[in-house]
């Protein structure tokens, strides 16, 4: 009888723990939100394009760098360059490409596909 009760208790514990964990993950106790570094790559790209547009407006390089830093990409410059080349290759909005190329150029990177999108007075690698 006792053995049966213990076995039932253990089964109850297991089922309860499973149910509690599933419930806890589905109904989190805290507000479930995350930072910019957790954005989907599509939105990270969109964010980066907007950073480029904002930089085109305010010319504040420190602010642009700080904004890019919030994406927590290990190599922000490399990320921008890669994104700019992807945008060029896929024929995206030229204005977006120019904004990304401007960022990449300020990081000191310009690649041949970027050259047509460089502002006239930007020195490559400046």
């Amino acid at each position: 009888m006792i053995r049966r009760a213990l076995l039932t208790l253990l089964i109850g514990l297991g089922l309860g723990a499973l149910g509690g964990a599933v419930f806890g993950w589905l109904v989190p106790i805290q507000d479930v939100s995350a930072g910019l570094d957790k954005l989907h790559p599509t939105y990270k790209a969109e964010y980066t394009v907007m950073v480029g547009a904002a930089y085109a407006v305010d010319g504040d390089w420190d602010l642009a760098q700080a904004r890019l830093g919030r994406l927590a990409e290990p190599d922000p410059a490399g990320y921008v360059v890669l994104l700019a080349e992807q945008y060029i290759a896929s024929g995206r909005n030229p204005d977006d490409i120019r904004n990304l190329v401007r960022l990449a150029a300020h990081f000191g990177y310009t690649t041949p596909p970027m050259l047509p999108y460089l502002p006239p007075t930007v020195e490559p690698g400046s």
Binding site: R4, T8, L9, L15, A17, G19, V22, S33, L36, Y47
Partner: protein
């Protein structure tokens, strides 16, 4: 005699379920909580959503593409985006944020049909402003004006219609006072500069000017091209004025508009410059 069938241990099952469920909850909520990856902007923290909205606003200032701005805002999953942008614009305005940021948020909020506080100042300022070729960042003027500023351009007559709000909790004190009597400088003004301890102008501070038989109230921030924390008042000759930042500073008394003589010997009315900031050691931001 029949042997009695053992009863099912319901109590043990119930106890096990309760204990197990509690443990499972503890694990899911505290030991191994949900960790989001590859999220949409709608799942960003509140602070990051505001940063995202600000970027959308600045991008709109750049390209003037309202439809695109709407699409970007839609990803935030906010029901009333116009109101959200307007609220953020008001917060930036009241907090004395960077003028460009206030302008961007206000411009987008207006384009979306909202009425932010700073609309009177920035209304209709949308214009794509690409700075192609400006790889060298341009400096922004956010510093406290020097004691001998150059003459300001023709005064802009914006009718002040601000909401009477106090923008800073901290006390402010008069940290500088200049008297200018110069042929080249506008005469008879009281020029008020209100700034944080870091020199950033604070808009929307209520200023009260009193003189014998009259008083006037106005707000800083209506001439952001001079300084976000700037306001001025045209004096009548031969009066003595008292200036107070309502609820924030002690009255500054004895501002006398009696005649003065310029360097060339001409009779003029002096212009007073009053600089307010938090006392040393007290944060204004």
């Amino acid at each position: 005699m029949r042997a009695s069938k053992p009863r099912f241990p319901w109590i043990a099952l119930l106890a096990g379920l309760i204990l197990g469920f509690s443990g499972g909850l503890y694990y899911a909520w505290f030991l191994n909580p949900v960790n989001l990856v590859n999220i949409a902007p709608s799942q960003l923290t509140s602070a990051d959503q505001q940063a995202y909205i600000l970027l959308i606003s600045e991008a709109y200032l750049h390209d003037g593409d309202l439809e695109r701005a709407r699409e970007r805002l839609a990803t935030l999953g906010i029901r009333d985006v116009a109101q959200a942008v307007a609220v953020q614009a008001d917060s930036a305005f009241l907090a004395g944020a960077d003028t460009l940021q206030i302008r961007a948020l206000t411009t987008l909020a207006e384009a979306l049909g909202a009425q932010p506080m700073a609309a009177d100042i920035f209304s209709g300022t949308i214009a794509p402003t690409p700075v192609a070729g400006s790889a060298i960042p341009t400096a922004t003027s956010e510093t406290v004006p020097s004691p001998t500023p150059s003459p300001s351009p023709t005064p802009i007559s914006i009718t002040p219609t601000p909401t009477p709000l106090i923008v800073v909790e901290t006390e402010l004190e008069l940290i500088g006072r200049n008297v200018i009597c110069d042929d080249e400088y506008p005469a008879g003004l009281i020029e008020i500069y209100v700034s944080t301890e870091f020199g950033r102008g604070i808009p929307a501070v209520e200023v009260q000017v009193m003189w014998e038989g009259g008083e006037d109230t106005f707000y800083t921030g209506l001439k952001p091209e001079v300084n976000p924390g700037y306001a001025d008042f045209q004096m009548e000759p031969g009066q003595v004025y008292t200036v107070t930042l309502v609820g924030l500073s002690e009255p500054v008394v004895g501002i006398d508009s009696s005649d003065c003589f310029t360097g060339s010997g001409q009779i003029s009315t002096p212009t007073y410059q009053l600089f307010f900031a938090p006392p040393q050691g007290e944060s204004g931001e």
